[in-house]
């Protein structure tokens, strides 16, 4: 191995690591706020990428119907609860968010013929379809169980993951897709060639991380999320709605997932089930951070990316083994250094 190969591998590892970092941040966020280990995180990656690919192929993506269906379901449940609870004033909001918004997005998609639009508009439409699925999934699957134990929430996550993968196969078929790169530019740095898309991935990841930092540090909603993460009961006593915090964190997670998918779709072929493995690697990074620390999760993700890249050079048959075995020493180290607090039931 000479320096050039090491540099190429390093570049590859950092680009993959940047995507894992985004997913790890989303996983940490969702776990901290709602105690949900969000296995379906990866599905948003696939949904985002494949929705964009469907637009490029001139098809109407199946996720649009999922959005409409989930919206109707959420609206039905919430309306029944609102009427029973003697609170019919809420119905207006429900109709606006769960019926009117998806219908407007659907109208836009069907009316605009996305295949003819510029890339940025396609990306925006894809995000508009996939991101609202986040809070809807929270409403349908997790909100009724918000106070359940971590284990129950994990089991629900597995169920949601399997349901979403199955729907992905139905919507997009078994074969993968690629999308056109954001930029075809190539830069030569010494002996190294850097693609425009690589810079997009790194740039977008950095921007997102900074944006999240500002969101949590400077805005009221961000602070509310942090407060819920630190102490749920305390946050409720201060008038912060845990339901709103849950929905908000799922919206962010869906947004980060879908955007990651859109970023990697030009670099690699994305399948209906690609998201799971990417999400798992993000999860390894999140574990390195003990599911609490954002900077550690990002650093862990870069480590996972680099480890993966170099092990694919040295021992390609054992690549996944090496990456996932990383969890064991990390867990040993964490359980030795941090003192464990039993979860109160």
């Amino acid at each position: 191995m000479d320096l050039q190969i090491a540099l190429l591998l390093g570049q590859d590892g950092i680009v993959n690591g940047a995507i894992y970092a985004l997913l790890a941040l989303a996983l940490v966020l969702v776990f901290a706020v709602t105690r949900v280990i969000f296995i379906p995180q990866g599905e948003f990656v696939a949904y985002g990428a494949l929705t964009l690919a469907a637009f490029e192929a001139g098809k109407t993506p199946g996720t649009l119907w999922l959005l409409l269906g989930a919206g109707v379901l959420v609206a039905l449940i919430d309306t029944v609860i609102a009427v029973r609870g003697g609170n019919p004033g809420r119905i207006k909001r429900i109709v606006l968010w769960d019926l009117a918004l998806p219908a407007a997005i659907a109208g836009l998609v069907l009316w605009l013929e996305p295949a003819t639009l510029p890339l940025a508009a396609k990306v925006a439409l894809s995000l508009a379809i996939v991101v609202p699925l986040g809070p809807m999934i929270y409403r349908l699957a997790y909100q009724p169980l918000a106070e359940a134990s971590v284990l129950v929430l994990l089991i629900v996550s597995v169920a949601v993951h399997i349901a979403l993968v199955g729907l992905g196969l139905l919507f997009f078929g078994a074969e993968g897709s690629r999308t056109t790169p954001f930029s075809e530019a190539q830069f030569n740095v010494g002996t190294l060639t850097v693609n425009g898309q690589t810079l997009w991935v790194l740039g977008a990841s950095c921007v997102l991380i900074v944006a999240l930092y500002l969101f949590f540090g400077r805005t009221l909603y961000g602070k509310a999320l942090r407060a819920t993460a630190i102490n749920r009961v305390g946050a409720r006593l201060m008038g912060i709605s845990t339901t709103l915090a849950g929905k908000l964190s799922f919206t962010l997670a869906a947004g980060i997932g879908a955007l990651s998918g859109i970023l990697i779709a030009p670099i690699t072929t994305v399948y209906y089930d690609t998201g799971f493995l990417i999400g798992l690697k993000g999860f390894v990074a999140a574990i390195i951070a003990g599911l609490v620390s954002y900077p550690l999760a990002a650093a862990g993700a870069i480590l996972v990316g680099l480890l993966e890249s170099f092990s694919s050079f040295w021992a390609s048959a054992f690549k996944e083994v090496i990456v996932f075995t990383l969890i064991i020493p990390v867990l040993v180290w964490r359980s030795l250094t941090s003192h464990h607090v039993e979860e109160e039931e």
Binding site: N16, E175, T268
Partner: protein, 381 residues
Amino acid sequence: MRMKSLVAALLSAGVVTFAYADITVGVLVSATGPAASLGIPEKNTFALMPTTIAGEKVKYIVLDDASDTTTAVKNTRKLLTEDKVDVIMGSTITPNSLAMVDIAAEAETPMISMAASARIVDPVDAKRRWVFKTPQNDVQMSTAITEHMNNSGVKTVAFIGFSDAYGEGWWQEFSKIAEVRKMKVVASERFNRADTSVTGQILKIMSTNPDAILIAGSGTPAALPQKTLKEKGYKGKIYQTHGVANNDFLRVCGKDCEGTFLPAGPVLVAAQLPDSNPVKKSALEYIAKYEKAHGPGSVSTFGAHAWDAGLLLANAVPAALKKGKPGSKEFRAALRDALEGTKNLYAAHGVFNMTATDHLGLDQRSRVMVKIEGGKWVAQK
């Protein structure tokens, strides 16, 4: 309520009696899970198969095994014990088919697999007596590749394959034959179907500077190493296996796949075959049927394996009917004998000539070398 269940009981009793008069075909395909891209066209193909053979009604019971061996075993038992099928068709992939061999033999029911590995039918022993298969053996395909490499003067070759049974199977066949053919294998790497990057493996392969590279993957995942090779400026020959022979691969790989060679069943390039080729007519017939139902360009070689299984059955049933009624043990045994006696059956993937020691029955006419040119499959002479 009681009335309803009585009616239901009567109805189901009726169905069972009718079913006994029909030929019941139990189909097991991997329509979901990792092998879905192979299983779905197979499933579609069964919908096109004849509903009567030699005057007898044929009932197809299609189940999905989710590309999972345990489910395949469970569903095979279900087909055999509950539906009392006369013949099993499936499964799509090798591990599932291997697991099903024991069960089919135990129930003395013939089975026609649509999976590639030679081990499913070879050697023909007490159990494999009951088992047949339609896809070409990997070894037939890899001799085609090594022959082509030899003829174009390749001296050193590198291998990159799936880190699963498919890649390993190819590695074993290919490394053996390459040695016989005096070619030096300079690198052997693995990648996963779901990998998002193969840069590491490709860099390692390129550092050994081989004349040619064989990528042993199936479906669109096999496009990733090829795209990375082009991106890193590899100039040598690139070979793929017949696992990529569907149009989705061309769509995903795009211009990076220009000039790639692969062996494939004749159905892939049926229209380009000379009229003297006996397979041309039967292959075109399948393509016309499939594309009529699913639109132009939708056909894949995998569905054709299922079609061939159907042809084998249709060819064997008339002889078996003379010896027993469908649903009986005699019929199943006679069907097995008739399948083994298949002679000169022109199918979509070649000409079947079964013997007591060869339960595949395909020869060189079952493969052609294909080159990707201008985003299309072009048959080589």
